[in-house]
Amino acid sequence: MIGNFALSILAAGLMTLLLALTSLALATSIGLAAAFAKLSGNGFLSGMASGYTFIIRGIPDLVVMLLLFYSLPAMLNQGAEAIGLDIQVEFSPIAAGIATLGLIFGAYMTETFRTALLNIPKGQIEAAVAYGLPRLRIFFAIILPQLARLALPGFTNNWLVLAKATALASIIGLHDVMFRAKAAAEATSMPFTFYLIAAGFYFSVTLCSMLLLSIVARRTAAGMRELAS
């Protein structure tokens, strides 16, 4: 019986991984866009990006999640009712989870990418412009490879925190590892067993991520160590 419950918890790992990876993709996109917006020199864009990171980093994850899942649809529905529209907006737990974690970690990613961008020597870009390279070429050939290397430690950190923060989505009823662990714990009155299994799952995700990302780090940093020393 314990085996079956354990399997059902690990099966929910797919849901946790789906949430984590989709949120990571969203957070990375938001982070890149906001980092470039902050450094764009355009007052409006950088103001928007600064406002976003400032507000999001000041609110607990749990509060953002509850606001998005419970309050936002209610507000939208009341608004729709007020203007006589007969629609019901509803966020599924997975959608609210992705949106929340994407928004929150997008703010942290923004800062990670911004610092990394600032560390790319300006002279390189100026030289590329002087050679008449098109903007896209500059981005892909000069900025991106260095951005990847410089942002990787911060990116790794954000990902590790994000992977564990997915457990919050169990509060809004997403059937993830945490939700199933709690269900199994209560169904069998054996909380230690099943929370330990959940802990083991999160730990192995962290372990695998660290292994993978250290390989990536070695690749992106190829040839750099000699230069640095």
């Binding site: 419950f5 509060i171 939700f179």
Partner: protein
């Protein structure tokens, strides 16, 4: 090509984020599946328990297309008021306060509340008898309300989960636990950890103290008067055809 691609992305995103739960005429009924034997998730991920089986029977009798969802207790009530769910079945005690927030079906059960203690504990269940003792309960439950109101001289420890009070009892950090008799028997006394413990004190129901409520019923969105009628009709049918009685025998042996 790029416009097409962008449009496809936008549609996919929009459909993920705005997936309406209301697509069909399904009735969404939520339950907090962490309370065996009333509602829990079994090893195969299936919802099981007295409330779940009763709800299925009621839906069948009333010819409703029901979708029973394992939801989180946190936010279940606001979700019902806002219409995210149409009804809740989770051993919900009917109280005046709750009646103001949502409609209730007819009461379908009068649960029995009991204390449980170590076999040789010799504690008299009276306000004086429990003075100085430690009582563990699940927070926000009728049990919590009862001991808070009637046993002011006992130390009350409150926990978020239904199983935590029993852990405190076995480890000796609590002298008594107050719970649903069926829950105590099923989740504790029948297990190895519960061997040295026994039910103690009188069987109590809503008739003995108002904190235990009028009974348990299905909570339904106030605006949905049609659903209240349908569910009551279904309840009447399962009561008449003996399904309710059979479920009670199966789960509580009454």
């Amino acid at each position: 090509m790029r416009i097409l691609f962008n449009a496809a992305c936008a549609v996919t995103l929009a459909s993920t984020f705005l997936s309406p739960v209301y697509a069909a005429e399904k009735i969404n009924i939520a339950t907090d599946a962490t309370f065996p034997p009333f509602e829990s998730i079994d090893a195969n991920g299936k919802l099981v328990g007295f409330d779940v089986e009763l709800m299925e029977a009621v839906c069948k009798a009333a010819e409703l297309d029901c979708n029973i969802i394992a939801a989180a207790w946190e936010g279940m009530f606001p979700s019902l008021v806002e219409g995210k769910y149409d009804a809740l079945i989770s051993q919900l005690t009917v109280t005046e306060k709750r009646r103001k927030m949502f409609a209730f079906s007819e009461i379908y059960d009068h649960p029995i509340f009991r204390f449980v203690a170590k076999k040789d504990a010799n504690i008299t269940i009276t306000p004086d008898g429990v003075a100085g003792k430690i009582i563990a309960v699940q927070t926000g439950t009728p049990m919590d309300a009862y001991v808070t109101a009637h046993m002011p001289n006992a130390t009350i420890k409150r926990y978020d989960s239904g199983s935590a009070p029993f852990l405190d009892l076995t480890s000796g950090r609590a002298d008594l636990v107050l719970g649903y008799q069926a829950q105590i028997v099923h989740s504790f006394l029948m297990k190895d950890e519960g061997k040295e413990f026994e039910l103690t004190g009188p069987q109590m129901t809503g008739k003995d103290a108002k904190e235990f409520g009028e009974g348990v019923a299905i909570a339904i969105n106030k605006k949905n008067t049609k659903l209240v009628e349908d569910i009551n009709e279904g309840l009447a049918t399962v009561r008449e055809n003996g399904t309710l009685k059979a479920l009670m025998v199966k789960y509580f042996g009454e």
